[in-house]
């Protein structure tokens, strides 16, 4: 059999999974500065809002990147601000801090180029905070990973959160 390309592919899949799992772990362990290092400088981080539309108008459901209001529509510099804010110790929405559990599943490779790997996955993020606050965030991510010398870097992330009215009081966590 000639499985060497298959094996290459397998190894790539695992490298991608490890990247995503390690990233999730950094977030859950609140190692945000290390997490920032996984982000490409030109990162686009975008979470549209989703609206209720007819069965045949699904493409109108999501708000548009860089045009409409979105939950997130930003770059690395804003994510850096968010991390800095948490580290002030007076970011009340995170005092006490959230306990998060980022579960990443269904990792699929889309376009694979010499420079990048596009990845589709699902997430379930459980957040627990204070005495009894609970949020469950579920949805899809479409990532583009940049192959850099030091390993992958996240260059683009689209997060589709499966909620219309947001069912959480805030979005102080990373997705």
């Amino acid at each position: 059999m000639d499985t060497s390309t298959d094996i290459e592919r397998l190894l790539l899949v695992r490298r991608v999974e490890e990247f995503l799992y390690r990233e999730a772990r950094l977030l859950d362990e609140r190692r945000f500065e290390e997490w920032l290092k996984l982000l490409a400088d030109d990162l686009r981080y975008w979470m549209p809002m989703t609206r209720n539309v007819r069965f045949d108008e699904a493409e109108r459901a999501e708000t548009r990147e860089r045009q409409d209001v979105n939950w997130f529509d930003e770059g690395k510099e804003t994510l850096l601000l968010r991390v800095q804010q948490i580290r002030t110790g007076v970011h009340w929405a995170e005092e006490p801090f959230s306990r998060t559990c980022h579960c990443v599943t269904n990792v699929l490779l889309d376009a694979v180029t010499p420079e990048t790997v596009s990845v589709n996955s699902r997430f379930l993020i459980y957040r627990n905070r204070g005495d009894t606050e609970v949020d469950l965030f579920a949805g899809k991510r479409e990532d583009v990973l940049l192959r850099a010398a030091e390993g992958f870097l996240l260059r683009r992330r689209k997060i589709v959160l499966d909620q219309n009215v947001l069912l959480a009081k805030n979005l102080t966590i990373f997705f």
Partner: protein
């Protein structure tokens, strides 16, 4: 001691002389139920903006009180606001957030309503109803009054409501200011696509009171203030970027109406301050607007930034142009809808800059509002208990120090006014609240 609808209203909930108000206002189910009747079923409520429904047949869902309503334009272009429920057995007739339609077909038994709310078709009208159903009496439930004001759309369930401008009273001056583009001209604002909607665990009045004039909650945003997040990229929020001139904060309360406004007024000279030095096109736009505004408004262009709450639940922030509507969702829950607006004819780059700043500033993903939401939530939760309810909130800041004339005649017309920091506006809000609740 119940305070629900139809029962006598407890006299001691708010003590304006002492400047205290019972915590029950923010946690009590009976009081909340009475609010739905006495306030939300009577007052003028903000329901949207004309730019959301530019064409005949356009519709968008909105809310009034706890209820879903349809804001739409009929085929003749007339605006309507309908309760989103079928007259037959109550089915929600519109289940899409926005779109364009000639009619609303009820999916339960097929009653068909026109875009103007008239009942146009009823299955089995002859066979089942023997043509006796009075279709003219069973159209969609429409608001008693609808008015627009410089593109904003308002509605009320009360046929006795005054006109919208009467309702605004002199606070209208500040709404005008808010709805004007940066150059102070006649250009319009438009809502950027997508309304942020989220549910937050606190009474709706937390947001309404906070935006009416809580100039003194800086500690809430201590963390944002430590960041370099302002448009200019300097330390803190946009509030750190503003004019270098001497300014004074002004609080304006209209207790007859319940509205309240907070504003910054420039005292001395008033040059343009560049917030976007690294973005020449945007900088040029604002520099130009600044000059035009001064020329157009003269002395009145001294008003800068600010915002307020139009009773009961529409809050606006100018500078960062957005509207928040605090829809009641139970005594301890609010469904916030936040609209973001930009000058319709600004260059795309300007719109982008405004949009980008405001969505990282406000809303549940915004660097400042996150902390507000947390404080409101925890304040509400800690006010629910048996002992907590025995201890009123303190509204004493500046009590007895309200003036009736401002620094400039045009500034405080018809208002109580306090310069600097005060809870005057919250007291004014409660004045109106008590008046309506006692009814």
């Amino acid at each position: 001691m119940s305070a629900g609808p139809g029962r006598p209203f407890p006299a001691d909930l708010v003590d304006f002389e002492k400047g205290v108000a019972s915590r029950r206002l923010f946690v009590d189910r009976d009081i909340y139920d009475r609010e739905l009747e006495n306030i939300f079923a009577r007052c003028w409520l903000f329901v949207g903006h004309e730019s959301q429904v530019p064409n005949p047949g356009d519709f968008v869902l909105s809310r009034m009180g706890e209820e879903s309503v349809i804001l739409n334009r009929d085929l003749g272009g007339k605006l309507h606001v309908f309760l989103n429920t079928c007259r037959h057995r109550g089915m929600r007739v519109c289940r899409y957030d926005f779109g364009n339609t000639r009619e609303f077909l009820c999916p339960y038994h097929g009653w068909l309503y026109g875009a103007d709310g008239t009942l146009q078709g009823v299955p089995q009208f002859r066979e089942g109803y023997h043509s006796e159903l009075d279709r003219s009496a069973w159209g969609l439930i429409e608001v008693a009054k609808l008015e627009t004001y410089n593109q904003t759309v308002w509605a009320t369930w009360s046929a006795d409501a005054p006109s919208l401008t009467e309702y605004f009273g002199e606070a209208r001056f500040y709404l005008d200011n808010f709805l004007a583009p940066p150059d102070g001209g006649n250009g319009r604002l438009e809502v950027i696509g997508g309304i942020q909607k989220w549910i937050t665990p606190c009474n709706w009045k937390f947001g309404a009171e906070n935006f009416i004039g809580d100039y003194y909650h800086g500690i809430s945003h201590e963390s944002a203030d430590r960041l370099a997040m302002s448009p200019s990229g300097k330390k803190g929020r946009h509030t750190h970027d503003v004019v270098k001139a001497r300014t004074v904060k002004v609080n304006l309360s209209y207790p007859e109406h319940g509205h309240g406004v907070r504003s910054t007024v420039v005292v001395g000279d008033f040059p343009y301050t560049s917030l976007y030095p690294e973005n020449p096109a945007v900088d040029a736009y604002f520099r130009d607007a600044h000059e035009k505004r001064r020329q157009r408004l003269g002395e009145q262009s001294r008003i800068y930034g600010g915002g307020g709450t139009l009773f009961p639940n529409m809050s606006f922030s100018n500078g960062r142009t957005s509207i928040a509507v605090w829809h009641p969702h139970g005594p301890e829950q609010t469904e916030v809808w936040r609209y973001y607006l930009v000058p319709e004819d600004a260059p795309q780059e300007v719109k982008d800059v405004l949009r980008h700043y405001v969505i990282r500033y406000q809303g549940p993903s915004g660097l400042t509002e996150q902390d507000d939401l947390e404080n409101w939530n925890m304040a509400a939760a800690a006010s629910r208990g048996t002992i907590a309810r025995r201890h009123p909130y303190n509204y004493q800041m500046g009590l007895g120090h309200e003036a009736t004339t401002g620094r400039y005649e045009w500034l405080a017309r018809g208002a109580l006014v306090t310069e600097g920091i005060s809870e005057q506006n919250q007291r004014g809000f409660l004045k109106r609240w008590v008046a309506l609740m006692q009814d």
